[in-house]
C-alpha cells in the first residue's frame, strides 16, 4: 500500500462490515478500507506478522475502527497491545461496538482509546455516525508522524 490514508476496520460480522462500507461510500469517503476479521489478524496486519509478514510496518492506517467482541483476541486486548508497542502507541483507535456498558466504555478509555462510538440500530443514524467519524478522523485529524523504530 502506498502513501494512502486508509482505514483499518476490525469487524467479525460481515453484515456490519457491509453496512459500514456502504455508509462510508454514501458519505463519499473514498479512503481504502482494510478489513480484518478478528484481533489476531488485526495485530498481524499492524505488526507485519503471521499472514502479513513482509508488509511495511511504517504504513499505518489513518484510524483503526475496532469492535470489542471479536473472536480469538478481543478488542480490548488488541487495544492493550497496540498501546504497549511504541510503533502503535499513538495510532488513533475508535471503539465501534454494540455495547454501551459502562465498564466497557471505562476500560476502553483507560486503555487509551481515542473515541468510543456505539453502533446505532437505525441505519440512518448509523450512516450519520460513520459520516461524522469519517470527517473527523480522515479529514480533520492530523495523525502523529510514524515513530522511527527498527522493525522486527
Amino acid at each position: 500500500m502506498g502513501e494512502r490514508k486508509f482505514i483499518l476496520l476490525v469487524e467479525d460480522n460481515k453484515d456490519d462490515e457491509l453496512l459500514m462500507l456502504r455508509a462510508l461510500q454514501r458519505n463519499q469517503i473514498p479512503n481504502e478500507v482494510m478489513v480484518t476479521r478478528d484481533g489476531v489478524e488485526a495485530l498481524d496486519f499492524l505488526f507485519a506478522t503471521g499472514a502479513h509478514v513482509g508488509r511495511d510496518v511504517s504504513q499505518l492506517p489513518q484510524v483503526v475502527l475496532l469492535d470489542l467482541k471479536l473472536p480469538r483476541v478481543d478488542g480490548l486486548e488488541v487495544l492493550r497491545r497496540l498501546r504497549a508497542d511504541p510503533r502503535t502507541r499513538l495510532l488513533p483507535v475508535v471503539i465501534l461496538t454494540s455495547s454501551k456498558e459502562e465498564a466497557d466504555v471505562m476500560q476502553s478509555y483507560a486503555l487509551g482509546a481515542n473515541s468510543y462510538v456505539r453502533k446505532p440500530v437505525d441505519f440512518a443514524q448509523f450512516t450519520e455516525t460513520m459520516r461524522t467519524l469519517g470527517i473527523f478522523w480522515l479529514l480533520l485529524n492530523e495523525i502523529p508522524p510514524v515513530p522511527r523504530v527498527a522493525s522486527s
Binding site: D15, D16, R22, K69, K100, K119, V121, F126
Partner: protein, 1026 residues
C-alpha cells in the same frame, strides 16, 4: 700526702727516747766532771773526752727538744734553751777565731776543766761548737718555717747528722781528720754519737712535717724511704769497715778489697731494689684494688643518694658542699654543679617555722662534733627562689676510719607530703567523728579489756550517762544487764583466746541497761576495729523498743484480720490493679463455687466475677474504694449468680480488698416469703393465665432469682418446677446472658437456652417488668425459636440462590440484548439499502412493507436499550452525592425542546431543589418522567409541564403536565415493564420507562405514585430518602 698516724706516734715516742738519751748522756758526763769520774768524762782516751760545757749543751738541747715534744706553752722555754745552746757554740767559735778566752767553762765549772792537758783546756772542740750552733738553732727553730714546706730545723739537723756521721765514720775507719781540725781539740766519740742521736731527735720530733712527713707518709714514697734509708746508712758503712779490716789484716789486697766492696754494694743494693720493687708492685696492686672498691662503693653511694627519698647534702671538713642528691637539688633549687664548693649554709638556708629566724647551721654543728643525728624540727628550708618547704632532718659529722673529721652530711625530709597525709587523716577523722555523732544509733567503742574507749551522742542520750562518766569504765558493768554480763565477759575472753565469736558481724537482739537501771530491747552489731595493737570493738546499738511495740501491734492486728479472714462469715478477696484475684478466703471461694486451685492458678478474675454493669459504661468492676457497700451480683463460673453486699477498700497502692456478704440465703428467704404472700394474695386467674400461656414464662425478682414458672417452662427446659424456683434464672441460659432484670426491660433478645440434660436450643426472650406491691418483678416470656430459625435459614438460602440466579439471568439478558442489536442493525440497514437503491422499482406496497421492517427493527432496538437501562439500574452501584435536581430538570427540558423546536411547551421548574442520590440514575428518572409529559402533551397546541416539590419532612417531588393523562383504574399497571396504557399508534414508547423509574426510586429508598384523569393531565409523585 697522708701520713701514717701510728707511725707518727711511734716516731714521736722515738724522738722522746732520743732526747732522753741525749739528756742522760749530757747529765752523766756533767756528773762525771763534777765527781771526777773518768769513765764518764772520756770513754776511751784516744777517743777524746766530752767537755763539761758540751755535756751541759747536750743536756740543754735534750731539754729543749723534750719540752717541744708537743706544741704548747712549754715550747717557749724549749726554744730559749735552743737559743742558749746555739749561743754557747757561737761563743766557743768566737773564742777560737779571736783567740780571746772568755772562760765560760771556768766560770761555770771552776778548776775542774784545768786538768785537761790541751791548749785550751776544758774548751769544747771547734767542730763540736759548730755542731752545737746548728743543733741549738734546730731546737730553737723546731716549728719555724722558711718558705713553703721548708723547715730550717730539718736541714740544720740533717747537717748535724751528716757532720757527726762523718766524725763517727772517722773514728770507725781511723781517719782523724774527720773528727779533729788541726791542733784543736777533737770531737769525742760519744759526743759524736750524742750529736747523731740529737739530730735524730730533732728530725723525729715533727714526723708529719717536711722531709720526715715524706718518710713517715703511707705513700709508696714513704714506704720506699723507710725501707731504703737504713740500708743506705748502714750497708756502705759496714762494708767499708769490713773492707778496711780486711785490708789492714793483709789478707786482701787493695784492688781486691775494692772489687769486693763494689760487688757487695751492688749485690746488696740490687737485692734491696728488687725487694722494694716487689713490695711497691704489691702495694700498687692492692691500692688499685682498693681504688676499685672505693669507686664501686662511691658509685653505689651515688646511686643510693640519688634514689633516696630525702635530700642529702654532704660537705667537706670546711663546710663546703661536696655532693647533693636530686631530692636536695629539687628542694633547695640549687644544681649540684652550682652548689659544689659553696658554703653549705648558703645552699641550705634553714629558718624556724614560726619566727623565721635563722637556725644554727646543721653543718657547723656537725663539724664542731655536735651530737650525731641531732634532729632539725619545726624548720623551713628557704629555697634558692625564696620558696619555703617545711622540713625535718638531721646532720652528722663524717669521720674516716682513723676518726679524722672529713666533713658533714645533712639529711632533710620535705614534710609537704606528710603534712598532706596528716591533713587528710585529720579530715577523715573529723568526718568520722561527725558521722559518729550524727548517727541515730548508739555507737560505743570498747578495747580488749572491755573498757569503753569512745561513745557518741546517741549513746549518751539512749543510755543516759555522759561521755566523761563512761569512758574508761567497763562496758559490761555500764551497759549490760547483770544477767548477761557473764556471757559478755566470756565472749570477749573467748574471742581474745581463739578469735571465735558468735557476735561479730551479726545482728543480734538483746537487752541493754540504762544508767537509771531500766532495761530496753536493743539491736546490736559488733565489728572489730582492725588496727595494730590489741583488738578494739565497735558496737552499734539501736533502741528497738518502738519497733518491737509496732511489731507486736502488727502481729495482733494481723491475727485479728486472719481470724476474720478465716471466719467463713464473709467473703474476702484481694485483687490487684488489673483485677486478678491474688487471695481469697474459703468463704468467698465457696460463694462463687470456685476452688483454691483455680485461685492459685490465677484463673479468678474480678472483672469476670463482677463485670461492669450498665450499657455503654466503663465503670470499674467494683465500686471505687470508700463508697458505701452496694448490692451486686457475682457471676459464677458455672453461670450462676450470687447476690452479695459488696464493700471495697484500697488495700495498698496496687491492690484492693473486697468484702462480700452472701445474700443468697436472705434472697431465698425473701423469695419464699414473697412467694407465700403472693400465693395467698395472688389472683387464681393470673396463675391460670400463666399456665395457659403458649410461651414458657418465668417470673423473677429484680436480681434474677426465679419466683414463679409455668408448666411450659418445665416442659421446655426439662426442669421440675422445684429445681428452678429460688435459683438464678441465668442458669437456664448458656453463657453470659444479658441481665434481663436490669438492662433490657421491655426488650426481646435471642439467647441460647440450656435444658436440664445440658442440650442447647435457641430461645427468644421477651422481658417485661411487673410492678407489684412487693416491688419490681420481671416476667420473661420464652419461646423456642429453633424451628423458626431453621425456616429462616432455609428462606435465606433460597433467597441467596435466587439472587444469584437473577444476577446470572441479568448478565445473560444483558449479553443477549447486545447481541440482538446486531441482527436488528442488519435488518434495518439492508431494508434501508433496498429502499434507497431499488425503491423506485418497487411499488408502494413493497416500500410500505420495507418501511415497516425498518420501523420494527428500530423499535426493537429502542426496546432493547430500554431493557438494558432497566437492568443496569439494578446492577450498577448506587452513588450518593448531592444532585442539583433543578439543574438536571432544566437540562432535560432543554434537550426535549431542542428535539422538537416547533412545540409550545411551558416548563415551570422549581429552583433550589437539591437531593442526595446517584446523578446518573436521577437523570434517567427525570428524562423518563419529563419525557412522558412531553410525549403525552404532544397533541396539544400549548402545554404546561411542572417540576417541583411539596414541602414536608422529606421532600416529595412531582412532575405534572396537562396532557392526555390516564384512567386511574390502570394506575397499578403503570410501573410494570412493557405495560402501556396507550395504543402504540397514539404515543410511541417502550413500556419500560416507568418501570425503570420505579426501580430507581425504590433503590433510592423512595416511593413513586401517580394521580391522573383521562385528558386532564397526570402528576407523578416521588420521594427519595436522601
Amino acid at each position: 700526702m697522708a701520713s701514717d698516724a701510728r707511725l707518727g706516734n711511734k716516731l714521736g715516742l722515738a724522738s722522746g727516747v732520743c732526747s732522753a738519751f741525749v739528756g742522760v748522756l749530757g747529765l752523766a758526763v756533767l756528773v762525771g766532771w763534777v765527781l771526777d769520774i773518768d769513765l764518764l768524762e772520756r770513754t776511751h782516751p784516744p777517743l777524746g773526752s766530752m767537755k763539761p760545757l758540751s755535756a751541759l749543751a747536750f743536756a740543754m738541747s735534750a731539754g729543749a727538744l723534750w719540752l717541744q715534744r708537743e706544741p704548747g706553752r712549754a715550747g717557749r722555754t724549749g726554744r730559749a734553751l735552743g737559743w742558749a745552746v746555739a749561743l754557747l757554740g757561737l761563743v766557743t767559735v768566737v773564742e777560737y777565731v779571736t783567740g780571746h778566752e772568755i772562760g765560760i767553762e771556768r766560770l761555770l765549772f771552776g778548776d775542774a776543766v784545768r786538768l785537761e792537758s790541751t791548749l785550751t783546756p776544758g774548751r769544747m772542740s771547734p767542730v763540736t761548737a759548730v755542731h752545737f750552733i746548728l743543733l741549738g738553732l734546730a731546737a730553737a727553730l723546731l716549728d719555724a718555717r722558711a718558705g713553703r714546706a721548708h723547715r730550717p730545723a730539718e736541714w740544720l739537723a740533717l747537717a748535724v747528722a751528716l757532720a757527726s756521721l762523718l766524725a763517727l765514720l772517722g773514728y770507725l775507719l781511723g781517719a782523724r781528720s774527720l773528727y779533729a781540725v788541726g791542733s784543736y781539740p777533737s770531737i769525742a766519740l760519744h759526743t759524736t754519737i750524742g750529736f747523731l742521736v740529737a739530730a735524730a731527735a730533732v728530725l723525729l720530733a715533727r714526723p708529719d712535717h717536711g722531709l720526715m712527713r715524706l718518710i713517715t707518709s703511707a705513700t709508696p714514697g714513704g714506704h720506699l724511704a723507710r725501707r731504703m734509708l737504713p740500708a743506705a746508712l748502714l750497708v756502705p758503712a759496714v762494708l767499708g769497715l769490713l773492707r778496711l779490716r780486711a785490708l789492714r789484716s793483709g789478707a786482701v789486697g787493695f784492688e781486691l778489697g775494692l772489687a769486693l766492696f763494689c760487688a757487695a754494694n751492688i749485690v746488696c743494693f740490687t737485692g734491696l731494689v728488687l725487694w722494694n720493687a716487689r713490695a711497691l708492685a704489691q702495694l700498687d696492686e692492692s691500692r688499685r684494688r682498693a681504688e676499685d672498691a672505693v669507686r664501686a662503693s662511691e658509685e653505689s653511694l651515688a646511686i643510693t643518694l640519688d634514689s633516696i627519698g630525702e635530700a642529702v647534702v654532704s660537705t667537706d671538713a670546711d663546710g663546703r658542699v661536696g655532693r647533693m642528691n636530686p631530692v636536695a637539688e629539687a628542694l633547695t633549687g640549687w644544681r649540684e654543679a652550682e652548689a659544689t664548693g659553696r658554703d653549705c649554709d648558703e645552699v641550705l638556708r634553714i629558718v624556724k617555722a614560726d619566727t623565721r629566724e635563722s637556725l644554727p647551721s646543721p653543718v657547723g654543728r656537725a663539724l664542731r662534733g655536735d651530737v650525731v643525728a641531732r634532729p632539725i624540727e619545726r624548720a623551713l628550708l628557704v629555697a634558692r627562689d625564696g620558696g619555703e618547704h617545711a622540713i625535718t632532718g638531721s646532720s652528722a659529722p663524717i669521720r674516716d676510719a682513723s676518726g679524722v673529721l672529713r666533713g658533714a652530711v645533712v639529711v632533710l625530709r620535705d614534710r609537704a607530703p606528710e603534712e598532706r597525709a596528716e591533713q587528710v587523716l585529720r579530715e577523715s577523722e573529723a568526718r568520722k567523728a561527725a558521722v559518729l555523732e550524727a548517727s541515730l544509733d548508739c555507737i560505743v567503742t570498747m578495747d580488749h579489756t572491755g573498757a569503753i574507749v569512745e561513745l557518741n551522742g546517741a549513746a549518751e542520750r539512749d543510755f543516759g550517762f555522759t561521755r566523761a562518766a563512761a569512758i574508761g569504765r567497763q562496758l559490761g558493768d555500764l551497759m549490760i544487764p547483770v544477767a548477761l554480763r557473764e556471757r559478755h565477759r566470756l565472749g570477749v575472753e573467748r574471742y581474745l583466746a581463739d578469735g571465735q565469736s558468735r557476735i561479730l558481724g551479726r545482728r543480734i537482739e538483746l537487752s541493754a541497761l540504762r544508767a537509771d537501771g531500766s532495761v530496753f530491747p536493743a539491736e546490736l552489731t559488733v565489728s572489730r576495729i582492725h588496727s595494730t595493737g590489741p583488738p578494739m570493738f565497735t558496737g552499734t546499738i539501736r533502741d528497738i523498743t518502738e519497733r518491737q511495740r509496732a511489731a507486736e501491734a502488727l502481729q495482733a492486728s494481723e491475727s485479728r484480720f486472719r481470724r476474720l479472714f478465716e471466719s467463713g462469715l464473709i467473703g474476702i478477696v484481694v485483687a490487684d490493679s488489673s483485677g486478678v484475684i491474688c487471695d481469697a478466703n474459703d468463704a468467698f471461694l465457696r460463694m462463687v463455687g470456685s476452688s483454691r486451685d483455680a485461685l492459685t492458678a490465677g484463673l479468678l478474675d474480678w472483672g469476670e466475677l463482677a463485670p461492669p454493669t450498665g450499657p455503654g459504661t466503663d465503670r470499674p468492676a467494683h465500686p471505687p474504694p470508700g463508697e458505701q457497700p452496694v448490692e451486686r451480683e457475682l457471676h459464677c463460673r458455672d453461670g450462676g449468680r450470687v447476690p452479695v453486699l459488696l464493700g471495697v477498700t484500697q488495700l495498698d497502692e496496687t491492690s484492693t480488698i473486697a468484702f462480700a456478704l452472701d445474700l443468697r440465703e436472705r434472697r431465698r428467704a425473701e423469695a419464699a416469703i414473697a412467694s407465700l404472700r403472693r400465693e395467698r394474695a395472688s389472683d387464681a386467674k393470673f396463675r391460670a393465665l400463666l399456665e395457659a400461656a403458649a410461651d414458657a414464662t418465668i417470673i423473677t425478682d429484680r436480681y434474677g432469682i426465679v419466683m414463679l414458672v409455668n408448666g411450659r417452662t418445665e416442659v421446655m427446659f426439662g426442669f421440675p418446677r422445684e429445681e428452678i424456683l429460688g435459683q438464678p434464672a441465668g442458669r437456664l441460659v448458656r453463657g453470659a446472658a444479658p441481665d434481663g432484670a436490669r438492662g433490657e426491660l421491655g426488650s426481646t433478645v435471642e439467647l441460647v437456652g440450656r435444658r436440664k440434660d445440658g442440650s442447647d436450643f435457641l430461645i427468644e426472650v421477651s422481658v417485661s417488668p411487673i410492678e407489684t406491691e412487693d416491688g419490681l418483678l420481671v416476667s420473661n416470656s420464652i419461646r423456642d425459636i429453633t424451628q423458626r430459625k431453621e425456616a429462616e435459614a432455609v428462606l435465606r438460602r433460597a433467597r441467596d440462590e435466587a439472587e444469584i440466579a437473577i444476577g446470572e439471568l441479568e448478565a445473560f439478558s444483558y449479553s443477549v440484548a447486545h447481541d440482538l442489536r446486531t441482527p436488528l442493525r442488519a435488518i434495518n440497514g439492508f431494508s434501508s439499502a433496498l429502499l434507497e437503491d431499488w425503491g423506485e422499482r418497487l411499488d408502494d406496497e413493497a416500500r410500505e412493507y420495507l418501511s415497516r421492517i425498518r420501523g420494527g427493527a428500530s423499535n426493537m432496538g429502542q426496546l432493547i436499550d430500554a431493557l438494558l437501562t432497566l437492568s443496569g439500574v439494578s446492577r450498577v452501584g448506587l452513588l450518593r452525592e448531592p444532585v442539583d435536581l433543578t439543574q438536571l430538570a432544566k437540562e432535560v427540558a432543554a434537550q426535549l425542546s431542542g428535539g422538537e423546536p416547533g412545540r409550545r411547551v411551558d416548563f415551570a421548574i422549581e429552583d433550589g431543589l437539591e437531593q442526595m442520590g446517584d446523578p446518573q440514575l436521577l437523570r434517567v428518572v427525570l428524562e423518563n418522567l419529563l419525557g412522558n409529559s412531553w410525549k403525552f402533551t404532544s397533541r396539544q397546541k400549548a402545554s404546561h409541564i411542572q417540576f417541583g416539590s411539596a414541602p414536608g419532612e422529606a421532600a416529595v417531588y412531582y412532575v405534572r403536565d396537562d396532557g392526555a393523562g390516564f384512567d386511574m383504574k390502570y394506575a397499578d399497571k403503570l410501573f410494570t415493564p412493557f405495560q402501556r396504557l396507550h395504543q402504540p399508534g397514539e404515543f410511541s414508547g417502550t413500556g419500560i420507562g416507568l418501570a425503570t423509574v420505579h426501580r430507581i426510586v425504590r433503590r433510592h429508598g423512595g416511593r413513586i405514585w401517580a394521580e391522573a384523569a383521562e385528558d386532564r393531565g397526570a402528576t407523578f409523585w416521588f420521594t427519595l430518602s436522601g
